[in-house]
Amino acid sequence: MVRLLFITFFLTFNAQAQDMVNLAIAQYQQGKKSEAIHILEQVPPHSSQFKRALEGLIKIHYNDGSLSQVFGLATFYRANFKDEEDFSLEILSLEVLALAQRCQYEMAQGLLKSVEKRFEDNPLFERLRERYQITEEYGLKEVHLSHSPTDEKKKTKERWRLTKDEFHHLESPYRLEVEVKNKCKS
């Protein structure tokens, strides 16, 4: 009886989380970006939909030009899901392209090198590397952007610097940001 209750609770909980992600996607498609972000950030880290919620958030923030959030969420995504079968190379691509937007080519190369062993047999990864080489060689920003990348507004909120050790113990990435200098400006 207890087992049945637990399974029911677990299924209901996961169904709720899945509904939240679907609702967030629907909200975003209607142009309600803030509502979509708010919903996705409610998905708890232990939910089976957490990975999907992270992917959604990264895409939304990338489209929005909020690159600090992209870097933070993508780093957390890599740290936690890199070894999973359904790890999204699309998310990795967005992270690399976001670094390229900041003309941080060394960081992008370091990132690609850090995962090449994991994805060496994956043709999509090879394609990502090739596209990145072109980006770096010609100094181009990603061509499919619907708007030109802009600098983020100056942050007025308080931020607390994290050590690597604190990052590795982080349970929830929703407030994580990674500050990367925009080398393109100089």
Binding site: A79, K155, K157, E158, R175, V178, E179
Partner: protein
């Protein structure tokens, strides 16, 4: 037993994978902090080294933020003074018995330091340390009410605020206060003020 070992192995591998994660840039945890524009707080005031009387009371403070590092505001103090040693006389015997009653003044504050106190894992308490200077008026009255006078004061203070819950903060301040209690007499005392306040 095998299952437990597997679980431990998976946990260790995960930790190891995380430890190998390539990171770049500077990692920050964004606080849900707001930008404040005004604050008001009430503090208990006590003069620490007044040789003539024991003075304490309540001070109401209001400050308006000019940017993130400066404030301008005012304070009103309602004080109670007990004559501690009537043998210590001043030039004017009326002044000897006249204790400070109320005070009001303007305050300018500079906030050079703000940050977080790290408590345990991810809990942090925002705090700020500020320097202030105040100028205003004190009023004096002796116990029978026959002698009343007013005089100027100025003070320099150091204040520490710690945010305790959402928009509420606790405040601890020490000041050096100089007031002109009569034409030829200044009182120079140190005060301690602690209280709670609200920002918005």
């Amino acid at each position: 037993m095998k299952k437990q070992l597997n679980t431990i192995l998976i946990a260790l591998l995960s930790l190891s994978a995380m430890a190998e994660t390539f990171t770049y840039g500077d990692l920050y945890l964004k606080e849900d902090g707001k930008e404040y524009h005004q604050e008001a707080y009430m503090s208990y005031t006590s003069e620490l080294n007044n040789n003539f009387e024991s003075v304490s009371g309540l001070t109401l403070n209001y400050n308006y933020y000019l940017g993130r590092s400066f404030q301008v505001g005012g304070r009103i103090s309602i004080l109670d003074s007990d004559l501690s040693d009537s043998s210590k006389s001043l030039k004017d015997s009326n002044v000897q018995l006249a204790g400070p009653q109320n005070a009001y003044g303007i305050v300018l504050t500079f906030i050079p330091l703000s940050g977080h106190l790290n408590l345990l894992s991810m809990t942090s308490l925002p705090f700020d340390l500020s320097l202030n200077t105040s100028y205003g008026r004190f009023s004096y009255q002796n116990p029978n009410g026959f002698y009343q006078d007013t005089g100027d004061y100025y003070s320099f203070g150091l204040r520490q605020n710690i945010q305790i819950h959402k928009d509420y903060f606790a405040s601890l301040e020490v000041t050096h206060l100089v007031r002109t209690q009569s034409d030829d007499f200044d009182t120079s005392v140190n005060t301690i003020n602690f209280g709670v306040g609200l920002r918005w």
